[in-house]
Symmetry: D3
Subunit: 227 residues, 6 copies
């Protein structure tokens, strides 16, 4: 059950350099390194082409059609945070536009991930303030009911704890728990290290069948070739 009407001011943030290194690797590599968990649902899409962000999760729980808590949130944001907003019921309203983006940017926010709608998207694109959302809508919101700030929230099917590392790009949004961020980074970096070599081989015409030694297991599974 969500705790409503509370703002946690002090949260334990993952290390910035770890977040930065994970961000550089991108969501696909990080998600693999985590054992394929921690990904938000693929309906979350960036509002402009080329959007990329990473940072520490700053969480907000919103009520449907009500963006009051985003204003409360602004005061607590610290440079390097990415705001992750969940909602207590499905809603596509435009919770966030250029004014809030200006305020969030002034506080050092790296972007917004919101399981709802946003607006002023052409201005947000001009500002290069990256947002991942499930909708775009001109519809504004009221300020009537309390949610919370920096409690654990579910956003687009994933549990996000304040301070977790968030990596977002055109492939989606991945959340890495602060406690395992370094370990995930190590795995992800190791995975990445092999990619350049693999890519060169594949570009040269080497087959994945050979490079990954799949021929034997395929034969064991019963694969038949027919001429």
């Amino acid at each position: 059950m969500y705790e409503l009407g509370v703002v946690y001011r002090n949260i334990q943030r993952a290390q910035k350099d770890v977040a930065a290194n994970l961000g550089a690797l991108g969501t696909a590599t990080v998600h693999e390194a985590m054992g394929r968990v921690g990904l938000l649902k693929p309906y979350m899409r960036p509002i402009y082409a080329g959007a990329r962000a990473h940072g520490t999760a700053f969480t907000v729980l919103l009520q449907p059609g009500d963006n009051w808590m985003l204003h409360v949130a602004a005061e607590q944001i610290q440079p390097g945070d990415i705001v992750i907003a969940g909602v207590t019921a499905d809603c596509t309203d435009g919770y966030f536009g250029d004014l809030l983006a200006t305020s969030f940017k002034a506080r050092g926010a790296q972007g917004l991930v919101i399981d709802a709608g946003v607006r002023d998207v052409s201005v947000l694109a001009d500002m290069q303030f990256p947002v991942w959302s499930k909708a775009i809508s001109a519809k504004g919101t009221i300020k009537a009911t309390l949610g919370s700030v920096n409690i654990p929230v579910v956003c687009a099917g994933a549990l996000v704890n304040p301070g977790d590392v968030v990596v977002a790009d055109e492939d989606g949004v991945v959340v890495v728990p602060a406690a395992s961020a370094q370990k995930v980074l190590d795995k992800a970096a190791a995975r990445e290290a092999n990619e350049a070599e693999k890519r060169a081989k594949l570009a040269a015409g080497v087959l994945g069948l050979d490079m990954y030694r799949m021929r034997e297991p395929l034969q064991e599974a019963g694969l038949r070739y027919i001429d």
Copy 2:
């Protein structure tokens, strides 16, 4: 109940300059000024980035998979109109392509808003003929059943009367009744006038909490800060 098989040739259009001024303010501001009504559902998306249009509503009621009435419509379009097309049942077919766009443009149409699909979208983008639709599909349509032109239609959940003002941009599509267009413009302009100042304050680090005087109502609502 829709009146079928009729074409209204004379409609009362909203004033062009009012439409132009509303268009310059954008959908989010206009929608707020209307009290948050008049917005089409957010599944209506522009077919290319940066699409923007405004004008007077020229309405068409279409039958599913049948674009006959769009040809009938072309003759009646006047410069400054935006064509708003509803359909009597859900359909994603491509009702509109580059030929109709050429014809509509020649008649002075400012764009198309259609609760169905369109095609030839790369050509439409090259022509800079803006379209908001719920789908993109290469599938063409037949010409077999009558609909109507310039009757009140429901398009993507919103009632549109011929002659209303239509404002469309990347945030969606808003419809303003002709009779209240000037009043909405006044409110929207007043709203906009404050935005530059607010943006500057927020950019300087002033919080919405203070600028909008939210601290007291939040406290009354029971918000608790936890360190």
Copy 3:
């Protein structure tokens, strides 16, 4: 019923020049020439603006969340092929990324059409390797269950036989059977031949009502004009 665990190495491909000519005409024209059949569902979207491809269908049947057969497929791809991948159950996972794209490109593949998700889309865009998919997702896939290569597959609601012509652009994806490709090309080319003239007339203000001689049938259908 799908035949599982088989790879057909020799398929009869449609003629390359016919595929190229169909590709130049685009999906909307080709789809019309086919009598409005052969179109994949419109949820299939290109992963980047401006994507266009044509080629001979190279089919793959995949299991949900399992991309093993794409590796098997790579070995059999011939220059000019477009890979068409169906899945035995709905899935949005990212089956395909930059490494497989590198391999497919090295084999001469012209693109990928997949009724599931892909990832590394910004790299794929940089490589200009066109993909039509129903989702974008960072989630990877396992390699555990056999599907098949070059059997007839259903992809996004359309039956695709190996060797068919595939035309894909921003309006969608159309499949033309190899046996009727030349006939469809003839019809499509004839249709296209008239388009330039029509476009010029429409641009000059001639109405479709007159150009297509619709006034009489509309009157017979009972259309009434009201002043």
Copy 4:
């Protein structure tokens, strides 16, 4: 544009016996008699098997997640009304449960059609208070923002004016304008009169091809039989 914050107390209701006769014919027959317009989208489903209702439209415009106006509505309901509720933005919350149903029933309401969610559905089924909705949800709603009562509303894609006839059954919900209700009834009754005879013929093995004289038009359209 919706007029907000108003309650129209006096509406012109269609004749009760016409509504009753239309109700007896059912939605499919009535919809045909109207020329196939006036049907709400098919996502509107009855909450229990066998639900059927008819009456005069009593309209309510609701705000998302806010059922305040349903309480305002209760006072104005007259025996024979069916409440039709539209919402200014998509919402699946449970706006209506057993308490409101008790109140509505006491006022003589024949049922509810709501483009949102309802709850207490097992109690509503026990009460035999029929509801057509797009969702079922235990989530309650707030009472904070005004909508309106008895203005024209769009509900599930259809325009409904207060006083229209509403017919609802397991096939959906149809709205007949008060002004044309008698004419639609005449057509619907004529249509129904032939159905029993047709059904008997078809049950005896007579083919629709012969009964509807379709063989000639099919041949003209080019239908070929292949043995």
Copy 5:
């Protein structure tokens, strides 16, 4: 590509007793016996609780919003057939109601599987004429464009050839190719033979972990128990 405007009068039907035996086993068992292919998408739902049917596939290709070919189909139906209808584009209209059901039943049809909508569903339930559809809608259809009868069709994502065995129940709809029907029946029957014994063991408290010998592979996969 679909062949349009043709009616195949003579099709090779699977053996009736094989169809009956497969029908008795149900979709889940048959689907397993086929290696988990041949299932229509799960959005296909029966229109009443307890619906069950089996028979030989009689296929129809329909145009969107047009049920002309269902009338053509009626003449060709033979006792024991199940009608499987695909549509060339997404459509939820009510193609089929009580009159067509009366006719189909008189011809010996066992049911209908249609990738679109149907109506008169309460009458169909009373008649116990089982239908699996993706929608229920009072909206009728026109009779203007040819489709085909007894060509291979894609229905809800599955390829169906005329004469295949169709098994449908509350779990969905499965298609078994005529050529492999006996083999699939043998496998399905063998599978079923073990179920009673397994059920008894499980009811007695034996664990699947032991019955299926999963403990060792789970341990190898690295499963850890934590007290």
Copy 6:
């Protein structure tokens, strides 16, 4: 991040009598008492009419298309548990059928809530084993990849901790944290205590407007009555 490959054998379960009392009050009342949080998304529907269940949450994390962990789970279930299953990616496969239901029932499970599909639903209805799912599908699943048992899982948008109270009925599924179950029960019971009296008043024609004293706030909000 989910911890993969672990089975927690000892979990702290909420008190049985508290769960039973919450179950008797139903989801709508419990959800209100919780401040309107803790509800699973409304796409979760019972597989048969009249389904109702309550118990202590026994959580399972599943991989897409893979039900291995349900077999692992069976051994750990204790009488009074409700199994809550989340999946790491969207999937509609039929993870659970009559054999697993027999086993779960033998272990004392009160029902299943699964963010995926189930099968054998007519048998499950006969067994009166209640299930809430997002799909029904005959498609079976493999046993290849580890998930976890009794870790915190997200199911249909809600976070569920092992041992929480689960209440499920025809209005949906609500989760109450073990730690606050007694407090929520007290609030819910208090709420329920007033309902009978309110229902009697409303049935007698008293208006909610008066009973809830809404007239004054409505007037302050500006509501206007028009005759």
